[in-house]
Symmetry: C4
Subunit: 236 residues, 4 copies
Amino acid sequence: MRDKLKAIVEQSGTPAGFAFAMSVQALIVLSLVTFSIETLPNLSPATRRILWWVEAATVGLFTLEFLLRLWVADRPSQYAFSFFGMVDLAAILPFYLASGFDLRAIRSFRLLRLFRLIKLARYSKAVRRFHRALILAREELVLFFCVASILLYLSAVGIYFFENEAQPKAFASVFHSLWWAVCTLTTVGYGDVYPITVGGRIFTFAVLAVGLGVVAVPAGIVASALSAARDTDRKV
Amino acid sequence: MRDKLKAIVEQSGTPAGFAFAMSVQALIVLSLVTFSIETLPNLSPATRRILWWVEAATVGLFTLEFLLRLWVADRPSQYAFSFFGMVDLAAILPFYLASGFDLRAIRSFRLLRLFRLIKLARYSKAVRRFHRALILAREELVLFFCVASILLYLSAVGIYFFENEAQPKAFASVFHSLWWAVCTLTTVGYGDVYPITVGGRIFTFAVLAVGLGVVAVPAGIVASALSAARDTDRKV
Amino acid sequence: MRDKLKAIVEQSGTPAGFAFAMSVQALIVLSLVTFSIETLPNLSPATRRILWWVEAATVGLFTLEFLLRLWVADRPSQYAFSFFGMVDLAAILPFYLASGFDLRAIRSFRLLRLFRLIKLARYSKAVRRFHRALILAREELVLFFCVASILLYLSAVGIYFFENEAQPKAFASVFHSLWWAVCTLTTVGYGDVYPITVGGRIFTFAVLAVGLGVVAVPAGIVASALSAARDTDRKV
Amino acid sequence: MRDKLKAIVEQSGTPAGFAFAMSVQALIVLSLVTFSIETLPNLSPATRRILWWVEAATVGLFTLEFLLRLWVADRPSQYAFSFFGMVDLAAILPFYLASGFDLRAIRSFRLLRLFRLIKLARYSKAVRRFHRALILAREELVLFFCVASILLYLSAVGIYFFENEAQPKAFASVFHSLWWAVCTLTTVGYGDVYPITVGGRIFTFAVLAVGLGVVAVPAGIVASALSAARDTDRKV
């Protein structure tokens, strides 16, 4: 019987295993929705009570699943200290320890359990291909990350000298200016901080002319490395 | 005579068929323009009356076209329940049923009729190529969509814990924070919600450093899959 | 002597021809800077007078150049009615006709004269390569442009129904909503109009999930077509 | 002994050389952090004194390093006038000359010293590949840069004529409009300036339809040139 359960719990290839994996995933999504609803302000006490019961039931089922996995594992200790084992434990522990208020954040880590999905066969191939693409483009990505960091810092220092006098609050220090640099170079542009001096605006233009490339090129590198990895796949 | 009409209505390769298809397309665009104008506030009753007559005439012609298509179809029932048949019906029905106020939205579905354009030969090839590219890159796209969803949720939870206290209204719950996450990770950045705490800003930077790639890479994947599909086309 | 001048005016390969072409380009940039300065508010009459004299001198030199080109052309009428001939004429005519106020806009068309630069040999090759890339990807680009237009319109209709009641001014009609759709799908996000209802925000998310790809993929298509065109160049 | 020191200072391949290079890098980062903290407003005099001592110690170590490099160089004058030699000097000189207030900006140039990192073997290869990619795509990049500049200017002139009357302050001149053009075509969209007239909004749409490509394509060109350069690397 242990072998039968083991097959169901650890292999998602069989119909029973697939059904088990999917039920667990559904439970995770349910527990995340519950968690999100709990953050809503002005909930009635009745709703709070219902949410608590859903949470308790979810944790109960998660605990059962955790014990099941421990039981069917070839070496329970290895499972318990594996990445997924610790994530599984982190998903239930806060409830038992909880006085409840500060540990709520940890509950959102249950999301990590969704990554078990990746073990499903087909996407496992796509993940491995993606992994190979990252290795292929590793050096370029590190290089661009370094250049982007240096550019961010230089932009922040530059805009600080242009705007500090005109807007002593928004650009109070290099650290404040870094926030502007992040918003601008990623082209998010919330509009809470922006240059108003002529010098600052010309500097922004210069930074963007260089910076757009530095920020946008890595995505293109990953995409073309992915298509190279797919080509290799097909040839083998 | 039925065969002659059938050739005109169903094949856009002949001059007469092309003219017919183009007239229908023009009529659809006209009816969409009429619909858009009707949403303008403060229209004079005279304008409203003209718009109603244009609408009535359009629907009349659409009804004629629908009956014509029914008549020339080899199996009328098959046409009536096909995707395009139902879109064609949805384009005229609201007018006949209408007390007119809530069904207006359905009229915009006439837009879907524009997709008949795609049947025109040349673009049919481009559509098929695009379809092949999507199949080629399907697994990667699903993977990135999942990762993007998880990232969106994690970002929303994270920013909620950083900003909830400082801005209890803008970041009132995880659901409110999700709106921020959507605006930020797509780099739209309306500026209606943005972090103001130091922690929230550093978190935003970290999320963007990872998230920009997750959002931008899929477009690159589609583009390179399209160029791979074009290569295959030329070799065959 | 006419042959000598012809070589200088029409061929930028020789040192004298290159110098002539560059002087004209410099003159164009000067006249554009003058034009831009004239739009500044609160100019002193003295500055205005100087600007008028610079403008008069520029137009004088442009007129000389135009007459020179007419004279050396094999068939003057052909030059006069060519694209560049008409641009050259449009650059000087407003000054002679002018009562000056409404024709100012035409002066900015002098910018088009800068495109002569493209005739310089090396970039001519890059332009031809770009042209070939556009032909290669023409069908996909037209397809994406059509889909983007339809998506823009559908987004505008959708957000109109979600937001019209809550923000009757910002989303007053489908035309007003189109402005929102343009700002959002291009990820510019000025922040002058944005959804505030829950439905509108979920709709925005759905539109962006699809729309980001539709807007970003064409750039990737052009880039990969360009690299394909470069490959062909090297093989030949 | 001089030869031994020379190996440590100039070659980062040996363990001792690597340790030396890393210590210098750490010192640079420390001095940049100090510099950034100094820009914070409302620092207590005690903090200011600590920061001054950290700065003095850093400059002392930098001076030692500079003298060391001068001593071990085969030709000291060649090092002193090389790019990195002058950057190294610029990193320490302001402190000795300083009455301190206006020279602060130069301190941020110490960041340039971080580029020594690039000499580390592996990334040196990635930099050379990136260099080759830039050469490969040089002509296209120059072409797009020119077209982008012309488009920026034309957009600014266009929006000036549409919006100047309605918003005489935000669009006061072509130069003011250029700021709008930069913010819009890079899709940053701060929201401090945006069109409000119907004509201006339609013009914005037209500009974006063309401009998004002009701005986004170069990143794709660089990415595909990089993957072409990587292919060449592997074949050789």
